[in-house]
Amino acid sequence: MSIVIKNGRVIDPASQTDRVADVLIVDGLIAGVAPNLSSSHAEVFDATGMIVAPGFIDMHVHLREPGFEHAENIESGSRAAAAGGFTSVCCMPNTKPVNDSVTVTSYIVERARRNAVVNVFPIGAITKGSAGEELSAIGGMKEAGAVAISDDGLPVMNARVMRRAMEFAKSYGLPIIQHCEDLNLSAGGDMHEGAASVRWGLRGIPAAAEDVMVARDLVLAQLTGARYHVAHISTRNAAAMVAFARRQGLPVSSEVTPHHFALADTDMVAYDSNYKMKPPLRACGDREAVTEALVAGAITAIATDHAPHAGSEKMQEFERCPFGIIGLETAIGLALEHLVHTGKLTLARMVELFTTGPDSVMRLGRGTLATGTPGDVTVFNTDLVWTYDVNQSPSRSRNSPFDGHTFRGGPMATVVGGKLVWRRDGA
């Protein structure tokens, strides 16, 4: 079984490739990148005028299975990933039950093997039940397939527990991903604390809630030497502190979501829960700062934090609605709109943020087009004008603030292990 993706502009940051070429995948592995490749039985995808890149990795999604299948499951979430140009996703452990055991990790791996159209890599919980107290079975989960640990959605508030978790993660060679939020400072908050929250009478989540946790964790990362990753970074101070730690040589990294570089609290539609997530949309200055940190290389990955919630849960009083928005299908379009079309990043740098950036944290052995690596390829386009219709989404949820948004450029085809799992209509 083989496929050849012909005549695209191949951008592979790992090998510093940027030229028009064909990509040949045979038996699920990259067989070569060169002009005029052919194989007698190969399926052909004509990528003329398109960008052909290593398969994009979203290191932060919520697939809601097991436990919340009314909002999403591994199958539907993986289809949304494919439609967004992602070939691999890492799913957070806040399922029901929480993925804090070999049993749940194995269940997710098995369900993904049967039902997912993209690669699914589970992230195990740091603590049992993500309750922040007792460490979970980290080593066993790693053997079962977990690629990182995190209590995402909840931070590890106890500094001693966090220290021990970092020490265990280090000994197992796993990165530890923290949702940075001091729960005492953020308690009861529904949006960023600032002029808009005060105007609308909504309780605020101060930027300081993120900053103090990042500061504490960086000190602990220095103490333990653990590989530490800040999830969905959103504030100016947090970005500056991560940049500082990296200059000190600490194995520290961070990701930003498309919505945090695309939107600020001033862009919110008042009391519309499709703008409600954690961390919240921050001030314009924070949005600028995380964008600058992306450009400067201090933030090394874009991750969506795809967080599906059923419609009825989002159709409530703002303060009652759960946090989170879906984001898989709009990530490339938003990155092009805000980072590439604005001239802030080259296409190659954007591709890095979706490939080698996340892979350097998660160490999946993907994110390149090197011969012999898994045949995952993302094909996208930089000028196709298209409008996002959330009601057409393969996701089971509809909670996106970008419904109806018109993009310039977006995913065209997604190849996972040599198999074409999604292509845009007409592509």
Binding site: G194, A195, V198, W200, L202, Y271, M315
Partner: protein
């Protein structure tokens, strides 16, 4: 544009002036022996109160009845709300009974704004969380204008738990549109600095004496313990530093009036002497509430 009344922020000066002028027409009625008109005869108004309220709910009911409308009041505890029905489902059910307006109070900021996007029935906001209480600001303006010829150039001090006050926000939005010099005062934990950006002409101070100095109007707010989720201020110290006492009034303009949206807590935000002070207009506010709400109902439904 939604036909109801969600907040003061989205009204313009002319719209506010029209309501205040119409309310003035209704004022004499309040003391007549026959107090009923038939302007809204055959109209149905639902008062849906998700939060305890005596004066606002009663005031809306009386206003509706004086205009000849039928009014039904529903409180959250006695309805399907306690059976777990969602807000949207409750409102859709009520809307299906074709009322001409729904007057709504809710503890969640923005609840009426959210519903207005999904319901055809006009919604009148009778207070949403810590956001707006538009008819309170209108009746406050009516009360000030009963004693002053215009709002422009007045100095108004609003003192107390500003952070949690929908009365403060609606008053700021209204007074600012008329060029009033507004001073907001309270302990720092109840006075977020971003309040200064709410509207033009707003200053902040944590010193009650500075706030009252040369004020034409002093609006005292209730300490909303039910909306505070933490100890924002030592309760034992509140009256000492932020309670209004008679001696403070010497700092204000000689004819300054004292207002309070009620219910008052004597000895907490103001002394008993101030509450009964001759230039306290707290009961005038209550009386004007009916005239102003008649004007609002007439505008929305009539």
């Amino acid at each position: 544009m939604h036909a109801g009344l969600l907040g003061i922020e989205e009204l313009n000066r002319a719209g506010i002036e029209a309501i205040l002028a119409r309310a003035k027409d209704f004022q004499p009625m309040q003391s007549q022996t026959v107090k009923k008109l038939d302007t809204l005869r055959g109209k149905m108004i639902v008062n849906l109160f998700y939060e305890a309220s005596t004066r606002t709910r009663t005031s809306f009911e009386i206003a509706a009845k004086r205009l000849g409308a039928d009014a039904v009041s529903i409180t959250a505890s006695g309805s399907s709300v306690s059976k777990g029905e969602s807000l949207v489902d409750t409102l859709n059910t009520l809307a299906a009974m074709r009322p001409d307006a729904i007057v709504m109070r809710h503890a969640a900021s923005g609840a009426p704004h959210f519903l207005a996007r999904h319901l055809p029935t006009p919604i009148i906001n009778a207070g949403d969380g810590t956001h707006e209480h538009p008819t309170q600001a209108l009746l406050d303006a009516r009360t000030i204008l009963d004693r002053a010829s215009h709002l422009e150039g007045l100095r108004v001090a609003i003192i107390g738990d500003i952070a949690h006050s929908r009365v403060a926000r609606s008053n700021v939005f209204l007074l600012s549109k008329f060029g009033v010099d507004i001073v907001l005062c309270g302990p720092a934990s109840l006075l977020p600095k971003e309040l200064a950006q709410l509207a033009p002409g707003v200053r902040l101070t944590t010193d009650i004496r500075e706030a009252i100095k040369d004020a034409d109007v002093i609006m005292m707010l209730r300490v909303q313990l039910e909306r505070q989720h933490e100890a924002s201020f030592p309760a034992s110290e509140y009256f000492r530093f932020y309670g209004l006492r008679l001696e403070h009034l010497d700092l204000a303009r000689p004819d300054a009036i004292v207002m309070h949206p009620g219910p008052i807590n004597r000895g907490r935000e103001l002394s008993s002497e101030v509450a009964d002070f001759q230039r306290s207009v707290i009961l005038n506010q209550v009386e004007n509430g009916i005239a102003v709400r008649m004007a609002v109902l007439e505008k929305v439904i009539g």
